[in-house]
């Protein structure tokens, strides 16, 4: 029991919440954008907040809201969510060495709050040799709270701010992913996978715009290129 507990400790949850502070700041503009768009599409404050709290996937929410109508397009929105979020299915197994030692609500709640940013931070922790899955939950849960609050705030101020779609504050969402990439560069062995991932993603993004197939395809092609190269070496 104590062994199980040490894999999901209160200290790691707090460390996750603290270390993910930059991510929480980074998610605020994205949450504000989703709140503003929700308001513009006629969702009530309650509807926008519930959507953010239960779906908790900004890109999927933005995509669904882009084609929102009344009655809600349930099948189209669910399909779009599935495609945009397929990358999450690739992310879960990577953090498997942590999750394998966790059971019950801790496991399923950790998966529920797993997002790109806190997952990347947790993978870095895991690669640094730390083995406490509480970090994933702590960073995810704190980001989830900030996300829901930011969406609600965005909805409230949406009618007041009226930012144009190309406003550079929205770049903050992309800057999160750009900065995440920097510590993921381990040297020249990453060059081939990254180039293949970029080329594949650019091609698929042109063929299938407004989906996330380019993320799934780029990630799989890049990783495959790395594995094939390593086997020949």
């Amino acid at each position: 029991m104590s062994a199980t507990r040490s894999r999901f400790s209160r200290a790691a949850i707090i460390a996750g919440a603290y270390r993910s502070l930059p991510l929480q700041i980074g998610v605020i503009p994205f949450g504000l954008v989703v709140g503003i768009v929700s308001q513009g599409q006629g969702l009530s404050l309650t509807e926008a907040t519930v959507m953010s709290a239960t779906v908790y996937a900004g890109s999927a929410q933005l995509l669904a809201l882009g084609h929102w109508s009344v009655p809600a397009p349930v099948v189209a929105a669910a399909t779009a969510s599935f495609i945009v979020n397929l990358r999450l299915a690739l992310m879960g197994p990577v953090i498997g060495p942590w999750l394998d030692r966790v059971r019950g609500w801790r496991l399923w709640a950790s998966l529920f709050v797993m997002a790109d940013q806190n997952w990347a931070l947790s993978v870095a922790e895991m690669q640094a040799g730390r083995s406490d899955a509480g970090f994933l939950f702590g960073s995810g849960a704190s980001m989830w709270i900030v996300w829901v609050l930011a969406t609600a705030l965005g909805h409230v101020v949406g009618g007041v701010l009226r930012l144009p779609p190309g406003h550079p504050i929205f770049f903050a969402a992309l800057a999160v992913f750009v900065s995440i990439l920097v510590p993921m560069w381990h040297g020249r062995r990453d060059l081939l996978p990254w180039v293949v991932a970029a080329a594949t993603a650019l091609t698929i993004a042109r063929l299938l715009p407004d989906t996330s197939w380019h993320i799934v395809g780029g990630a799989v092609a890049g990783a495959a290129a790395g594995v094939i190269r390593d086997r020949r070496a």
């Binding site: 502070l21 930059p22 980074g26 503009p29 959507m51 239960t54 779906v55 908790y56 996937a57 999927a60 669904a64 929105a77 669910a78 969510s81 599935f82 990358r87 299915a89 690739l90 992310m91 879960g92 197994p93 498997g96 999750l99 399923w108 998966l111 797993m114 790109d116 990347a120 190309g166 550079p168 770049f171 992309l174 800057a175 992913f177 750009v178 900065s179 990439l181 920097v182 510590p183 993921m184 560069w185 990453d190 996978p193 990254w194 991932a197 970029a198 993603a201 650019l202 993004a205 380019h214 993320i215 799934v216 780029g218 990630a219 799989v220 890049g222 990783a223 790395g226 594995v227 086997r231």
Partner: protein, 87 residues
Amino acid sequence: MTAATYLTRAGGYVLFRAMRPNEAVRSALGYIPGALFVAYVAPALAKGSWPEWFGAAVTVATMLLTRQMSAAILAGTAGAWLVWSFG
């Protein structure tokens, strides 16, 4: 949307736990994080213009110098904003 999203969050993990992946799959998982975010960023930057390009350059430079994500995100966004306001 909630169900579809949670299915991807939990589904990939459950599937791999049941399958017990071999050596090649495990080494592929090591390459996925970098490749995935490159695949996310590259088309977004290709679709962008000088504000995004300059903002991304400032983000990377700040990250290399400080190793602080919040500083990199703030500086990068400020950089993008600066170029945008001159554009």
